[in-house]
């Protein structure tokens, strides 16, 4: 394999992201979102307890908490997608959301994508099947929003960093 071919295989920046990376990013995002929601609600409850007396008793119920979490989840997903195209989990895994032609997703598409995301679960996961089987790896909410998910991570740069660290480690060990 020549150097050029090796670089082409290493750098997949801009290519459609695969299912594993996207699932990992989603798991991270859900963990962050749930943790931050729980922490947020706990802080809010503690602050309310401090400023009020025991006479204040808030009972939202499951529906209320679920609705509140849905709003939080929407904000957690839509805002980062509209601003930078990636949530914290996606940034961690090096992927981003863009329009089908490659431009930035924008606020409207980000909102539609965040609202239609639960459709994948409501269809018993069939809405996520195109990520594995589709030619462009677009889930149902991607098709509805007109977006795709691509790699925003330059694997070639990571390889350079790896080579640089190995080279410097060898020089340090020799010295």
């Amino acid at each position: 394999m020549t150097t050029v071919e090796a670089d082409a295989s290493l750098s997949q920046q801009g290519h459609y992201a695969g299912a594993v990376t996207r699932l990992a990013a989603f798991v991270v995002d859900q963990a962050v979102s749930a943790t931050s929601f729980a922490a947020g609600t706990a802080v809010v409850a503690w602050v309310l307890a401090l400023v009020s007396s025991d006479r204040v008793d808030i009972h939202l119920g499951a529906a209320g908490v679920g609705l509140l979490y849905a709003v939080w989840a929407f904000a957690y997903l839509a805002y980062p997608w509209a601003v930078s195209g990636k949530t914290p989990g996606m940034a961690l895994m090096g992927i981003r959301v863009v329009r089908a032609d490659g431009d930035d997703a924008g606020g409207r598409r980000a909102a539609v994508r965040a609202i239609t995301l639960p459709l994948g679960f409501l269809t018993l996961g069939l809405g996520f099947a195109p990520i594995v089987l589709g030619r462009r790896r677009r889930a149902l909410h991607d098709v509805l929003a007109g977006t795709v998910v691509v790699y925003a991570w330059d694997a070639r740069a990571a390889r350079w960093r790896f080579l640089a660290r190995r080279n410097e480690g060898g020089a340090t060990g020799a010295g």
Binding site: V20, R96, V148, R156, R161, A164, R165, N167
Partner: protein, 324 residues
Amino acid sequence: MDAEGRQPDGPGDLSDDRSGEAGGDRSRAEPVARNEATGRSPTPTGGEGGEPDRWGVDVALGAASVAARTASEVAGAVGGSRAGRAAGAAARWVTRPLAREGEQVRERIGEEAGPAARDVLRQVTPGVVEAVGIDDVLAAIDVDAILDRVDVNRLVSRIDVNAIVGQVDVNAIVGQVDVNALVQRVDVDAVVRKVDVNAIVGQVDLDALLAKIDLDALLDRLDLDAVLARIDLDALMARVDVDALVSRTEIGALVARSTTGVASEALDAVRRQGVSLDNVITRVVNRALRRDPAALPAGPPRLVARPALPAGPDPSPTGGGPAT
């Protein structure tokens, strides 16, 4: 010699022939006449083996010599006496008119003999030249033998070649030469084929040659913009082995210092593992669905058509670069 052409038997015959003037003329004319008739050369007749003419002349000169010697002796004996001197003076007085006339004749001969001789030569020379075959004379000359006797080296050594060349106006000669016509008659290809270019180049002192070149002036005349415009930088960079460059140079150390950290290293590892698993699943699916991976779109047109971004911050405002 008689009229029938008979040869004289001896000197007596010749003396007889020369005794009278008419007889002498006849004796000189007869051999010539006979030679013209027979084509033979005259035969010697004297006892000495010489020719008749030479024999007669010798006899006459011998007689004159004897007579002069005798007269000198007599004159010396007689002139030494007083009577002899008186007789001499009388004879000089008597022969004075004869001496005067003889002197005039001698002076006239001196004055007129030269021009007359020149006139004679002028009239005779064309006939002689015409009669003599120059070609025959030259053909009879052995030029090779003459040249063999000539020391050419000595002859050449006496020639001042530099002086001769110094008198030659080379520019005038060259100015009259039609160089174009001369060059057109030259088979340049044949000349070049005979030239040992390697030998010529081997004799060239490239260091000295390069030392004479003003590289600054040369670069000033070079339009670098035009040169760079003709370079396909993308193709050039594609030929660069960046991995080897990072591994061998200080660039790697700079990159390492700017991204040092366990988090970045762990992040790279996690991402690399995720991409590897994605590729595995993609290969399995493509094989199961019998799809040609090369026929599948790699990504959005605007992102895939654009060359991969170099390492570092994402130039796009949304920050699509790696989160290091």
